[in-house]
Structures are given as structure tokens and as C-alpha cells.
Amino acid sequence: MSFEVETDAYKGPIGLLLSLITAQKVDLWQLSVSELVNGYLAELECMRQLDLEIATEFLIVASTLIELKCRRLFPNSNPLEMDEDFAFFEERDLLIARLLEVKTYRDASTAFLDLMEAASKSTPRIGVLQEPYASLMPDLLAGVTRQRLANSLRRFVVLEPDGSVDVSHLPAHPVSISQAARTVVLRLIELHRCTFEELMDKADTRIEVVVGFLAVLELYRQSRILIEQESSLGKIVVQWIPTKFSTAELEDFLEESGFHLGED
């Protein structure tokens, strides 16, 4: 059995997901990772035990999706110096190459399975030396030390998982990028031009600043704002590119701009 994905964009076994994306039947950007995760957790509750096969498959697809979405949200590390189109092409090629690579090895591994199947049909003789020859065999432990014994055990040893999961980096209150973008846009309409610090003067926590920064980057990418920075680590100045937005249009804009990573 395989985990069934049920989101608005896609319904079906998760294993098909990537192949469907490659066949252009599912729009990656319409898939919500959180929906996917919720569905998976619900599925887990129904299963009596964790099926590792399903779990791995799920993790591969979910993490690929998350990475793809993050990359799209997170512009190239040097967005200001690089030609925007060029940066975009590079990101796109990387993603495609990566997906095609996974698909290639996955397909190749099915050929391995066939080879293994064929090879397993013949069984080797493990010869046995009988006495008096057996005792002639040199002592196979000659020169073995305690350390070598321990080393040969390592192959079978599983590293102790750290029982706790560090959640200190998680915000106590989730902040979504769309909320942050809304705040940034409203503030910029009011101020027109200001520094990033001024933009963030209401932020209490570091995570709010981080999310605010992501929102600024996203707005920049969508050509809604201009960003200037005189020197590296210098002050970032943000400027609104005036457009005539009604409040309703603003809502629509925020709705449409693909800020659905944070919460849906």
C-alpha cells in the first residue's frame, strides 16, 4: 500500500506525485505542503504501525516540495548583484536537474531489482573443510585486537538517536509571510521610503524580523518595491513603487502573490 495524497491540486498515491509533476498534470505551486502533512498524519493514525517504506516515500516527496518552494521564495544569495533573469534561470535549471537526477536513479534501481532477482536463483556452495583438514586452517583470529573486534561490530550498530528535538528555533506564535507582507505593504504605503529597521520597529522577536525580511525579498522579486544598500552589512533602504491600490485590490494582490508557505 502507499500513502494517498489528498489535496485540492492532487489526489492519489504519493509515489506518483513526482512523476505526475514531470508529466505536467499537477502544478507544483498549487500543492500545499501543510495539507500534505496533515493528510499524512491522519493516515498514520489509522495505520497500526509505522511503515518505513511509506514514511520514506512521503519524506522524500515532502522535503523535495518544501525545498522547491523555499528556493523559489528565497532568492539567490546575491540577488542584487546578479541579473535577475540569470538568477532565475540558474535556480530553475538546478531544480530540474535535481528532479531528473532522482528520477534517473529511481528508474535505474528497478533494473537492479531485476538483476538481483535473476542472481538470487542460483545459490553458492559454501564449502566446509572437514577434519583432519579443518584444524590445519590458520587461526582466523591471528593478530586480532580488542579494537578490531569492536570496529567490526560498528557495521551493525545504530547510532543512538538524540531523544529530544530542538524546537527553540520555532516561534511561539507562527508568523506567516503573507501577514508580514501585508504589514510591510501597509507601512510602505504610509512611509513611501524607509530603512528596513524602521519597517521592523514593531517586531518583537527575531523570527518576525526574519519573516519580514523574506516578505521584503518577495515583494522585491515581484517588482513592488525597490531596495538599496550602499555597502555590505550597510543599512537597507526600502522604497514603495507607487501603484494605485484599493484596499480590495491589495487584498487580492496579497492573496494571489503565492504567500502560502506559512499557513494556509
Binding site: Q49, M137, L140, A150, L153
Partner: protein, 192 residues
């Protein structure tokens, strides 16, 4: 039994003798090949005389427990040379691994050892017993209940230590055989 069936049976017997680590008894043969004792007997006698009369390096040997392939007695000098030759890379790493598992996880059964190593370990266990590094312990509760293996004083002596407590600590843990089996069952499709 018609000649074609007889020929097919002979091929099957040869294949099984080739991979069997122990002599093949006629009870086991009846079960595996699904034939009457006398048919098995006739087939194996025919095979035996075939190998005895052809000029090969091995023959079918009849021992108390059954039948097995063995090198011919006149090949003894080359077998001796083979036994004495120093390079047994595969066997020695298998021996070391098996011994390590027994040392750190004793007492442990044959099936548990094989399950941790992922391969049948019967022959290696036999080698370790014959060298006196491990022994099977505990009164068996009854037929069919597994034997458990532990290391011997000769093993400690070989490593130059006084007690198992002197073995180096291995970071992490070796899953209990039951856990290893469960993990394996879920990591590998299909059944055994």
C-alpha cells in the same frame, strides 16, 4: 519412476547436495523432493556410481547422517595446501563480525546472529566452536528450542583480556535481535 523423472530428480539432488552445509538425510530428501525413499535411494546410488567412475576431484560420500559432496581422498595433499594457505579474507571478516556480535550480545541464538548479519551464519558459528572461541550454553528447554552462544575463556585469552568488561565500548547500540528483525521486516518488502 520413468527415466525422464529420474534424470530430473538426479539434477535436483545434485543441486541440493551442492548448497547444503550438512549431509542430506533420506528423511530430508523425501520432504524436499517429494519422492519415495526407494526412488531417492535409486537416484543417489546412480549418481554416486557416476561420480565414482568418472575421473573427477570429488565424489558423493555416504556418512552416518546422509550424503554429501566431498573431495576425493587422493586429493588430500592439495586440500591440505589449501587449508594451510593464509588468505581467507571473506571467511576471516565473517568470523570476526560473528564473534563481535556474540561477544557484545551474548547469550544470542543462531537465528538472531544471522538476522543481525543478514546472512546465514551457520558455517561461521561452526568454525568458531571448533576453535573453542564460543560455546553453546544452557540446557535446551526441548527439541526445537534454540541454542544460545556465549564466548569462552579461550576467547578472552586470545584477546589478552581478563573479562568482557574490558572490551571497548561501542558508541550507539546494536538493536536487539527482535528490533533488528522488525526493522528489517519493514525495510525489506516481501517475506522470508
Amino acid at each position: 519412476m520413468n527415466p525422464a523423472d529420474r534424470a530430473a530428480l538426479s539434477k535436483e539432488i545434485e543441486a541440493v547436495l551442492m548448497v547444503s552445509p550438512e549431509p542430506l538425510s533420506k528423511e530430508r530428501a523425501a520432504e524436499v523432493f517429494g519422492v519415495h525413499d526407494e526412488d531417492f535411494k535409486a537416484a543417489i546410488d546412480e549418481l554416486s556410481s557416476f561420480y565414482s567412475s568418472s575421473d573427477r576431484g570429488f565424489y558423493i560420500q555416504k556418512v552416518a547422517e546422509g550424503y554429501r559432496f566431498a573431495s576425493r581422498p587422493e586429493m588430500s595433499s592439495v586440500i591440505e595446501k589449501f587449508a594451510l594457505s593464509q588468505t581467507h579474507p571473506r571467511l576471516s571478516s565473517a568470523v570476526l563480525e560473528t564473534l563481535a556480535i556474540i561477544a557484545y550480545r551474548q547469550p544470542i541464538s543462531r537465528a538472531q546472529i544471522s538476522s543481525i548479519r543478514g546472512v546465514n551464519s551457520d558455517y561461521v558459528i561452526k568454525v568458531l566452536i571448533s576453535r573453542g572461541y564460543i560455546e553453546s550454553t544452557g540446557a535446551e528447554a526441548g527439541p526445537g528450542s534454540p541454542r544460545y552462544y556465549t564466548t569462552t575463556p579461550a576467547f578472552l585469552e586470545k584477546l589478552g583480556i581478563f573479562s568482557l568488561a574490558e572490551l571497548p565500548k561501542v558508541e550507539g547500540f546494536m538493536p536487539l535481535p527482535e528490533v533488528a528483525e522488525a526493522l528489517e521486516a519493514s525495510l525489506f518488502d516481501g517475506s522470508y
